[in-house]
Amino acid sequence: MSSADAGTQAETTEAEAEPIPTDERREALVESLRAELGDDLVGSHIRPGDDVWVRVSRDAWRAAGDAVKHKLGCTYFDFLSAIDWLPSPFGRDMDSQEDLVVHGAEPKEPAPMVAGYAGGDTRLQVFARVSSLEHRVGVTLKADLPDAEPSIDSWIPLYAGANWHERETWEMFGITFVGHPHLIHLYLPGDFEGYPLRKDFPLLARRVKPWPGIVDVEAMPGGGDDESDEGEGASE
């Protein structure tokens, strides 16, 4: 999926797939962005008749926002957030990383990191969505951030509403927004440590209790070993 998305490759395949008028519109959208940004447009992905993703380089984040707002007319700001592409330690099975640690088994090899639509090279990726109300089209922009210094230009000069979204992304992912005038905690207490929405931030509730989705039946209260264990604990 991700490897085929990059650049022109995706567009040719999409054009063959289904000739829907909105496709051409979204392809034209990507082309006009490419004309604006040049090589800073790193990748793109179009789902015919539905949606479009564009990945830009980190340095061109502000320029890309400027281009979509003023050239494409996407004046409506939907949201801005980030994705941590590190493979999730919380799996869907009993043998996920997190549960192996709980049960004292050997940790297994983590799955390789795979980025989503329009590709991605680094762990942290900022993404934002803006829409044009006149043309009834929305675009999702993405930008990779280096692990060592996750920072990117603020979008506040372009979209005032980015203010809170950037504050949230900053505290949840540890991504700094250069030029943000008021980068303080939005939800978390001021002395909170860590970045909760990163994949390596432990979710305590998940860590102390094994995955409940596999076996839904819990042990009956008063049944056998559990109670005797509890009894001992109480007597001590």
């Binding site: 409506y76 949201f79 989503g116 009834r136 979209y159 509403g161």
Partner: protein, 391 residues
């Protein structure tokens, strides 16, 4: 705009006159007023730190996070069907509407579509939760402005809608009724006729509100020209729903970008806009929207197709790899989910774009220079649910 500039002008004149009278350099450091976290105007626990100069607000900064429940993190350890239980609690007055965009996003990734009957009933319940949500807004608006009776009428008449939601889904506030590929159950017997009756009652309620609140002179004096948000500001802050339409922007996701799975294209209704952008405009739009919603429900009730209520869906739901963004026009505004799937039982990442988050982020901008009592009407007319800000 004139009202505010007039007031500012007057207050400047008054300040100058007072300075001259005293003939001294008068400087005050101002005062910081905490509105909330426990304040009726905050619908939960939002705190507004207002810096005042006399009666005027110099700056107002909302402080959120008192009710943050970490849903975006929790979705990463819940299977797709389990997530609807969480998202029910985002906007708790219109819970069913929260489930729909998430289910639609999952359906989009799985490339399945609910049967027509399920789509119809889904849309009906969606509009019923809109009515339940906004009718409480109308009552609350009265309470904020001292008209308590409207509040009681709203609580009384909202019950008709909640009864119908309960009869169909089993839950008054948290239906958890939407499923990937359809709905949990079909409608109970006699539900359609009862819902028609409820809609008549709600239309009478709207007329009542229009008479005793919206048409009230005190209400108009308190809200007209207060808290004006121009269209450009509204768009750059990402305001949505009635707040956006109250600024004169003709934009409704139900009509303009309706995701597949809802049947708004099959009904005849009107999107109301108001050019003023003030607190009155936002309130008025919501009243009209309740009326339109009752019309949509009535039309859909008469045209429910027969057929199954669920599509063929595997028992264990694994969503194929991909990313999807689905937004719907919820009671509070644009609510969207950006779902990233890795082909697992659980989502890899879910970004919840809730309407109130953006709607409240405009508060610092709109509350500069207004009087303290106007902060309350502005907050009331922006209409947010705390669970929808904090998620």
């Amino acid at each position: 705009m004139t009202a505010i500039s007039d007031r500012q002008h007057l207050s400047e004149l008054a300040a100058r006159a007072a300075d001259n009278r005293l003939n001294v350099d008068f400087e005050s450091e101002g005062m910081t007023l905490n509105i909330g976290p426990q304040h009726p105007a905050t619908h939960g626990t939002l705190r507004i730190v207002a810096k005042l100069d006399g009666e005027q607000v110099v700056s107002a900064e909302p402080v959120a996070g008192y009710m943050h429940r970490g849903y975006e993190k929790l979705t990463e350890v819940r299977t797709y069907p389990q997530v609807t239980t969480l998202v029910n609690r985002i906007d708790w007055l219109g819970s069913f509407a929260n489930e729909v965009p998430f289910i639609l996003a999952a359906e989009k990734l799985m490339e399945i579509e609910a049967p027509p009957r399920a789509q119809h009933i889904r849309t009906i319940l969606f509009e019923l939760s809109r009515i339940a949500n906004i009718s409480l807004f109308l009552g609350d608006l009265g309470i904020q402005l001292g008209g308590l009776s409207v509040g009681f009428y709203a609580f009384r008449d909202r019950e008709f809608v909640l009864n119908q939601i309960e009869a169909a889904t089993g839950g008054r506030f948290h239906p958890n009724f939407d499923r990937i590929g359809g709905l949990k159950d079909d409608l109970p017997k006699g539900w359609i006729a009862e819902t028609h009756t409820a809609m008549d009652k709600l239309r009478a309620f709207c007329d009542e509100v229009e008479d005793i609140l919206i048409g009230n002179e005190i209400f108009q004096k308190r809200t007209r020209g207060v808290g004006i948000i121009p269209p450009e500001i509204a768009k750059s802050y990402g305001l949505s729903g009635p707040n956006l339409r109250g600024s004169g922007i003709d934009w409704d996701l139900r009509r303009d970008m309706c995701p597949p799975g809802l049947v708004y294209d099959k009904v005849d209704w009107k999107v109301w806009t108001h050019p003023d952008g003030d607190s009155f405009a936002r309130s008025w739009i919501r009243l009209q929207e309740t009326r339109e919603a009752t019309k949509i429900v009535d039309q859909l009730l008469d045209s429910i197709p027969s057929g199954p209520i669920m599509a063929k869906v595997p028992r264990i739901i694994k969503v194929p790899e991909g990313e999807a963004w689905v937004a719907t026009e919820n009671p509070l505004g644009e609510m969207g989910y950006y779902v990233v799937s890795k082909g697992d039982l659980v989502p890899f990442r879910v970004k919840i774009r809730s309407a109130s988050f953006n709607n409240v982020s405009v508060v610092p901008w709109v509350c500069r220079g207004v009087y303290v009592p106007d902060v309350i009407t502005i907050l009331a007319s922006l209409y947010f649910i705390l669970g929808d800000i904090d998620r």
